[in-house]
């Protein structure tokens, strides 16, 4: 307790599980799987960004958002808009009645690029937007809800409604958004073909690296006083308020952070999978993201990554063979996790494996000291 700041930020077990995860992501998985499977894993990992955000806001702070798909979509669409503009050069779109605009706009009789698409010609703007737009959006939602002390179930329902509204909006405004098909046929990033195997490898590693970076940020927040405050708010919000904290600001902050993480995941999804569509931001995907966090253990940021990997892997296997069963299986899984292992995979690890690991580590450290 009284150790230096750095030590208190990095308890031994956290460091160990971070290193193991880094080895799994950076070495083990790339060796074990071919690029087709690795690309799929990369796709699963983009959902881990969302799950980590949910661990911070829901697990730590007790703020359950059932609309994180919205933020995933903001990042995903921002990236897709940039890539789409790059793919829609006048040469590539010469057969359209208005060359130089994305194909779906042409199909919808648009004759000019809408104003809000213009800035997405710039890659810098796009990257900034991926971070800033979800933060602003989360701030507006958070300020509107938390300042009025709306929380708990009501907050969950409202975020869910926002996810539904976003989907309807995107599907309805086909000419501006690509509608239900989303934005497809993305080709290059700054002239670099993202559809080749080598590009997929590079993107996988960039994604894994970003994920590890997000984990470091999440760990910092978790171990800061702000992290303890979130736990305190979950226990006794009034006590925090009457200890001189403006509780709503802390909730808004962590909701913004969760939104930014999700948005980064969305952008990496677009890059690796090559499209973005409303099917990834609505109610069902938003709830799936909560399930990833729950299966991983809603208090464990590392668990969230494994949760996202495992559930998505199960989803791929199951929906390849029995597509109609998947939704039921997902529901059953969620119920099972909540009823039987409320702390998810991380809880199982802590109960059954960690004590043994601890013993082993103690032995090693003692040996080192003795020598």
């Amino acid at each position: 307790m009284l150790q230096s700041k750095f030590k208190s930020l990095t308890p031994r077990n956290d460091v160990l599980s971070f290193i193991v995860l880094a080895i799994v992501l950076m070495v083990l998985l790339p060796i074990l799987f071919d690029i087709f499977r690795l690309n799929l894993i990369g796709k699963y990992l983009t959902f881990a960004f969302v799950a980590i955000g949910l661990v911070l806001s829901w697990g730590l702070g007790g703020i359950l958002s059932l609309g994180q798909g919205v933020f995933f979509g903001i990042g995903g669409y921002a990236m897709a808009m940039f890539l789409k503009l790059e793919a829609s050069t006048p040469e590539n779109t010469a057969i359209q009645s208005t060359p130089g605009i994305p194909d779906f706009m042409d199909w919808n009789q648009l004759t000019a690029l809408p104003w809000f698409w213009e800035p997405f010609h710039s890659f810098t703007f796009t990257v900034v937007a991926i971070i800033v737009v979800p933060a602003i959006f989360a701030y507006i939602i958070g300020a509107a809800m938390f300042k009025r002390r709306v929380g708990g179930v009501y907050f969950a329902i409202i975020t869910q409604a926002i996810a539904a509204i976003m989907t309807i909006l995107i599907i309805g405004q086909q000419g501006y958004t690509g509608g239900v098909n989303g934005i497809t046929d993305l080709r290059t990033l700054l002239g670099w073909d993202i559809r080749t195997d080598s590009a997929k490898y590079v993107l996988y590693f960039v994604n894994a690296f970003l994920l590890l970076a997000v984990l470091v940020v999440a760990q910092y927040i978790r171990k800061s006083k702000l992290g303890r405050l979130l736990v305190a708010m979950r226990d006794s919000e009034d006590r925090v308020r009457f200890s001189g904290y403006d509780v709503s600001n802390f909730k808004i902050f962590i909701f913004c952070i969760a939104g930014i993480f999700s948005s980064i995941g969305g952008a990496m999804f677009t890059l690796q999978v090559g499209f973005m569509s409303p099917s990834l931001i609505g109610i069902v995907p938003s709830i799936e993201m909560v399930i990833f966090a729950a299966v991983g253990g809603n208090l464990s940021i590392i668990g969230a990554v494994y949760g996202a990997l495992l559930v998505n892997w199960a989803k791929t296997i199951l929906s390849e063979s029995y597509p109609e069963i998947w939704l039921f299986a997902m529901g059953a899984l969620f119920i099972a996790v909540v009823m039987a292992f409320p702390k998810g995979l991380a809880g199982l690890y802590e109960t059954y494996i960690q004590p043994k690991v601890d013993k082993q580590l103690d032995k090693w450290f003692k040996k080192e000291k003795a020598e």
Partner: protein, 248 residues
């Protein structure tokens, strides 16, 4: 600048009505520096509501609450805390999932904003202060225990400690000895005597022995109004008070 020099807290004409029901009706009282004031009264007299009004948990319908000349009725809860008013709740409200140390640390008056909390550094000053307070509240051996493992009485002390670390000028305690054993109650009385040296204290309590032990002055409330006020002997011999307590 103090409006009325001797009073730390002046409550005047305070009224709150919930759908027409006046839980607190035209209440006025004044607390001096370093005074221990106890509010007593039967259930439903509006005692806890008074504390809720002072700390901003409930907004008043009418009247004014001035703390060192500053109007509190317009301030937000956390602003009232920063002005120097601390409040302990009836049921011990502490952070069960955190350690005793962390519970106390969160009340330390630094890093109360988002970025302050992100960059908060647990330096020697904080550690010393937490240790000092922990010793005062008899929990110095338990700093590393989770707060959920404390006994009921220890939880009450912990919450008092969380207030002390804020160093408020006015400390409000809602039934601090409820559910405590006899020895714990004695320790708490000693604790209160010690901590009131440099601040004013407003206590709600049912336990008459305890009230006699600590109170400078007593305010008796009944049905949202002040029934009687003065020293313990004075209110005990007041026929109106006897009527309310024994009359039915």
């Amino acid at each position: 600048m103090y409006q009325q020099k001797d009073f730390v807290l002046s409550v005047e004409g305070l009224t709150v009505s919930f759908d027409g029901f006046k839980a607190v009706n035209d209440v006025s009282f004044y607390i001096e520096e370093q005074e221990i004031r106890v509010i007593i009264g039967p259930n439903g007299a509006g005692k806890t509501t008074i504390l809720d009004l002072i700390c901003g948990k409930t907004k008043s319908t009418e009247g004014s609450i001035k703390f060192k000349g500053k109007e509190l009725t317009k301030l937000k809860e956390h602003e009232i805390v920063h002005a120097g008013v601390g409040r302990k709740f009836q049921n011990p409200s502490i952070y069960e999932d955190l350690t005793v140390f962390e519970n106390l640390e969160l009340s330390y008056p630094r890093g109360k904003k988002v970025f302050g909390a992100l960059t908060f550094n647990r330096d020697q000053e904080v550690i010393d202060k937490v240790n000092e307070i922990a010793e005062m509240i008899f929990l110095e051996e338990l700093l590393l225990s989770k707060a959920s493992l404390l006994s009921h009485g220890q939880k009450q002390w912990l919450e008092i400690g969380m207030l002390l670390i804020q160093d408020p000028e006015l400390l409000m305690l809602d039934e601090p000895v409820a559910g405590m054993s006899v020895s714990e109650r004695k320790q708490t009385a000693a604790l209160l005597q010690k901590i009131t040296k440099d601040r004013s204290v407003l206590v709600i309590e049912h336990d008459m022995h305890f009230v006699e032990e600590i109170a400078d002055r007593v305010t008796v409330m009944h049905q949202g109004k002040v029934l009687s006020e003065g020293s313990m002997e004075h209110v005990q011999s007041d026929p109106k008070v006897i009527e309310v307590y024994l009359g039915h």
